[in-house]
Amino acid sequence: MICFEHVSFGYEKGKPVLEDLNFILQDGESVGLIGANGAGKSTFMKVLLGLLPHEGTILVDEYEVNTKNLKEIRRKLGFVLQNSDNQMFMPTVYEDIAFAPLNYGMTKQEAEEAADTALEKLGITALKHRHNHKISGGEKRMAAIATVLAMNPDVLLMDEPTSALDPYNRRIIINTISSLEKTKIITSHDLDMIMDTCQRVILLSKGKIAADGPARDILSNRELLEANRMELPLRLQGI
């Protein structure tokens, strides 16, 4: 369960980027977090992860997000960054994927198994021993997602997972996300993807929750979307 109570945050004083957010996310729910560029989606993720400070209360299960509980909270949350270049820091894809499992106390062998499973699930076994600085942007994105899957978190946080991916890989990611029975928060401008993977949508507008409800209701509401610089998902445009 994730719970936000009156959560606010601003990079600079007097300029809130997130303002009085309130909502509860039950276990197993998947939520699409949508909003225009600069609406505060990535900031939202970082606040939840304790990477940025905040006012108000955030609960992840029984733990409150604060400096004391960071270790427990981060064990539960797996985060795919918007920029994969910043996610991958080891020399090879394999070492990067094994990083979290090894840190969380798995043996070499178990970590390798976890890595192999993640690579297989995403269909990128061929990337295993490639060097991170010699793979394409999309390949790097797939590998970055694998690093998070391999740590088997309770909650999956993904910041624009399908940007930079070709349609084939995009489909793999959608299927993978759908097949995982975890709590998920996914931000994206790809509303078709949100429609395929999320039952619930939260729409952020200038740091406030402008709408929160079933995905099919919000994603088919043309006026609401257009007022927030978005368009109906392609499949609802009737083209």
Partner: protein, 268 residues
């Protein structure tokens, strides 16, 4: 390719060298760290005129190069910027120290020349040894080794982050100069008027990226420990190497092996 992009690539290629397989690569990082430190310490400690004694120390890098499969060419190529600097250190010795020290075929060689050559060789040897350590051991493994000998987590983490930060910084320089060049055709380098904003941007961008990289490590369970980089446990081979190599080096340091052999050969 751009000079800077080239440099980034070279730095990253060190990781690739370190990922090769050889009897040296598979040695325990602590063993390598220890022998490297002993080697550097002993090499530096040679007396400034003791050129003939120092020569034998070349055996260590030569052996390592041949066993590890790292090419000498790569080493000198990557060190091409630092090597001249190190060599320049002794350049003035011949000017100050003109007393003749020995004669070679009737030609008097001054102490300054000998000490200059000694100093240069010391520099080159030490650089080669450090290069070999880095080329056969990943930075994470070196950090893990440092933690093993109880260097504080804070310092080791700083070392690791500095290493990563350099790559990020150079990456950003490459990206930014490319972006600049594409919009300033025909200009050589960055115009001096843009230096200020260029530098400011560079720092901000690279710091942002480095911060996110570090966050990404934290989010995946990094807490200043390097268990993930710890290879196998040290075995007999590692212990033997850690004892034998420094012992041999110490012997080289204490006895002038070149003279010894020369003496035997001449039947003295």
């Amino acid at each position: 390719m751009d000079k800077i992009e080239q440099a980034v690539l070279e730095l990253r290629e060190m990781d690739e060298l370190a990922a090769m397989r050889s009897p040296i690569h598979s040695l325990h990082p602590l063993t390598k760290l220890f022998t490297t430190i002993v080697y550097i310490f002993l090499t530096v400690s040679f007396y400034k005129y003791d050129l003939s004694g120092l020569i034998i120390m070349v055996l260590y890098p030569v052996l390592l190069f041949s066993i590890s499969g790292v090419s000498v060419k790569t080493c000198f190529y990557k060190l091409r910027i630092v090597l001249p600097l190190v060599c320049a250190v002794g350049l003035f010795n011949p000017l100050f120290d003109r007393a003749p020290l020995l004669s070679l075929g009737g030609l008097a060689v001054s102490g300054g020349v000998v000490s200059m050559i000694t100093l240069m060789l010391k520099g080159i040897f030490c650089l080669m040894a450090s290069f070999l350590l880095v080329a056969t051991t990943t930075i994470d493994a070196i950090c893990a080794a440092l933690r093993k000998v109880h260097v504080p987590a804070m310092i080791v983490t700083l070392l690791l982050l500095t290493y990563r930060y350099i790559t990020v910084l150079m990456d950003e320089v490459a990206v930014m100069t490319t972006a600049y060049k594409l919009r300033a055709p025909g200009q050589k380098g960055v115009h001096y008027k843009a230096w200020g904003s260029f530098l400011g941007q560079l720092l901000l961008r690279s710091m942002d990226r480095a911060e996110e990289l570090y966050a990404s490590m934290l989010l995946r369970g990094f807490r200043g420990e390097f268990h993930y980089a710890e290879g196998k446990r040290a075995d007999a081979r590692d212990y033997v190497t850690a004892l034998l190599v420094p012992a041999v080096l110490l012997f080289f340091r204490c006895y002038n092996v070149a003279m010894l052999f020369g003496g035997i050969a001449m039947g003295v």
